[in-house]
């Protein structure tokens, strides 16, 4: 019965995916350059060009570009990459298109930490960041602990939801005691901002994120197998409990510092992976690095928009991502079966 078929098909040589990655990287590079030279403070492009060629530039402009703007842009790239790649991982881990990094209590824990820092202490940037980091990790680990006995990820999901609810109530209790200024601070923290960026922060945050991002990208086989189903992933050679633990920990470690520094930025982890899948498919060998790059691109542009659209005032970046990400997500849903959502 073996038909002597002529090979009517060929293995894709991955050229499509490589070209997609190249496109995204090029766009990111352009966005980074653009966001660095453009901002509320007017610096003429000619001046920048001549400065690069060796001419002096006035101190204030140089300072604005190198010490105010550039750290923000780099933080945008780092945070966007972290959010993008971990959104993709969460969606595949839970086999749920609505998953995002905050699902297992990460964002709620970070917010609770921030609330506690703001309301109970004076709330300096480092205190808030530290508390948010502890909160994010703690909530995630608690959710994992509660959900680990279930033999599939549904338990983890439920535990994450429970944590989110409990943390929300705890936050409410703290908020009641907050005074007006603290409430405003919390509102702004929840809307996110890249303003806390400076080079000493990026010195450890950037390598940390890159390292964890690389670790996550190596999990592409595991995540592909998870798409088939948890049983099938086991049959293909992946120990599920260990895999779940590994992925949750990696996601928590890559996102928690970012959330601690930037506050709550939503929709990037949710929408970016879907767009990436729509473009070149759901194979994680492509989806993971592209979600990182696309997330970086999205956040860089969102921050640029927030900084310039209403200059001299600034729109919080979380607001920009919600305003743009929300309708985008609705559009994704309306595409229905033709989209990457099953």
């Amino acid at each position: 019965m073996s038909p002597s078929h002529s090979k009517a098909w060929r293995f894709p040589d991955r050229r499509m995916e490589w070209s997609g990655l190249t496109w995204l990287s090029a766009c990111l590079l352009i966005a980074v350059v653009w966001a660095s030279i453009s901002g509320a403070y007017d610096i003429r492009v000619l001046d920048i060009a001549s400065w690069i060629l060796g001419a002096p530039m006035d101190v204030v402009s140089a300072n604005v570009m190198l010490n105010i703007r550039l750290p923000r842009v780099v933080l945008g790239v780092v945070a966007g990459a972290a959010l993008g790649v971990s959104g993709a991982v969460m969606q595949s881990l839970f086999r749920n298109p609505l998953a995002e990094p905050g699902l297992v209590g990460l964002s709620a824990g970070a917010s609770l930490g921030a609330v506690m820092a703001i309301v109970m202490t004076g709330g300096g940037a480092f205190l808030i960041g530290g508390f948010a980091f502890i909160g994010a990790l703690g909530a995630t680990l608690l959710a994992y602990y509660l959900g680990r006995s279930s033999h599939n990820s549904a338990g983890l999901l439920l535990a994450g939801i429970a944590i989110n609810v409990v943390v929300g109530s705890a936050m409410g209790l703290m908020i009641i005691q907050a005074n007006d200024a603290q409430l405003r601070d919390l509102t702004f923290w929840n809307m996110g901002s890249l303003a806390a960026s400076d080079w000493s922060l990026l010195l450890w945050l950037a390598p940390w994120t890159v390292m964890l991002g690389c670790l996550l990208v190596t999990q592409w086989r595991e995540l592909n197998a998870l798409l088939l189903g948890e049983r099938e992933a086991f049959h293909l050679g992946f120990h599920l409990r260990r895999l779940r633990w590994r992925l949750i920990v990696l996601v928590a470690l890559i996102v928690a510092p970012v959330v601690a520094v930037t506050g709550g930025i939503g929709f990037v982890g949710l929408v970016v992976p879907h767009l990436v899948r729509l473009w070149r498919g759901a194979d994680h060998r492509w989806v993971l690095p592209s979600s990182a790059i696309a997330g970086a691109l999205a956040l860089t542009l969102a921050d640029w928009l927030g900084r310039t659209i209403m200059a001299p005032t600034e729109l919080p970046i979380g607001l920009v991502t919600s305003l743009i990400g929300g309708p985008f997500f609705i559009w994704l849903l309306l595409r229905g079966k033709r989209s990457s959502l099953s």
């Binding site: 078929h5 090979k7 969606q91 749920n96 086989r221 798409l227 049959h235 293909l236």
Partner: protein, 247 residues
């Protein structure tokens, strides 16, 4: 719950696991594949003891075809077929391509290879899953010489034509590659048609195993399934049997 059982699976043999609902067919299969731990005794796949905690070692010894697979996000057919080699990251891409080539040819899916999985019909999807399983089996066969294949009611959601297509492909793989295979089936006739050996499980009788002719007798079947059964020589196939339940 699986009753106490002692079985040997020979390469090149397709062993059917049958019985009424609740007899423990799926549990037996799950224990063999390493998903469920064994209460007493051990299971060996070749020389390897089945250890539910060593998923990678298991994947390098046996492949499993489930009943149905729901894909969370849309992958292409080829993406899925290539997953069969995930337990063998040390193999070259050329080698994997070769296996995929054979698998696609065996299930006759060459026109669908680059299509998205969710665009396929149920029967085609199951063939894709089988192609993946076949890739894994070929990889195992090459790595350690004896591969085990477990199939959990793979035809349950298929129409008659696709059922026989799939079974034919399964049988070919088993005989041509000398794979030791165990399949859980509901359909007695299908088991009679394709299996070499059989295990008959029952909630209130001790399990029985042997060749098809030994197991498929009127008395055995009636006592296990507790309904009248007729076992007739197959009108079309000289060595075959036709089983007719009689209500």
């Amino acid at each position: 719950m699986v009753p106490p059982l002692s079985l040997t699976l020979e390469p090149g043999e397709l062993m059917g696991v049958l019985g009424p609902n609740g007899a423990g067919k799926s549990s037996l299969l799950s224990t063999c594949t390493g998903e469920l731990p064994v209460a007493t005794g051990t299971i060996h796949l070749g020389k390897q003891v089945v250890n539910p905690n060593d998923a990678q070692q298991l994947a390098r010894s046996r492949a499993v075809l489930p009943q149905q697979s729901h894909l969370a996000f849309n992958l292409s057919v080829l993406d899925i077929i290539q997953m069969g080699a995930y337990a063998f990251p040390e193999c070259s891409q050329d080698q994997v391509n070769q296996w995929c080539d054979r698998a696609v040819a065996a299930v006759e899916l060459h026109t669908h290879v680059n299509r998205p999985y969710q665009a396929l019909s149920g029967g085609e999807q199951q063939r894709v899953q089988f192609a993946r399983v076949m890739v894994q089996t070929l990889a195992i066969q090459q790595a350690c010489g004896h591969a085990f294949l477990f199939l959990d009611e793979p035809t349950a959601s298929l129409d008659s034509r696709h059922q026989s297509l799939l079974m034919r492909v399964v049988k070919r793989l088993v005989t041509e590659e000398s794979v030791a295979a165990m399949i859980v089936l509901h359909d007695l006739n299908m088991a009679a048609r394709w299996c070499d050996k059989m295990v008959l499980l029952s909630p209130d009788h001790p399990p029985q195993h042997g060749t098809v002719s030994e197991i498929l007798t009127k008395e055995t079947l009636e006592s296990v399934f507790r309904m009248a059964m007729h076992v007739l020589p197959h009108p079309m196939r000289p060595d075959g049997w036709l089983i007719l339940p009689n209500e």
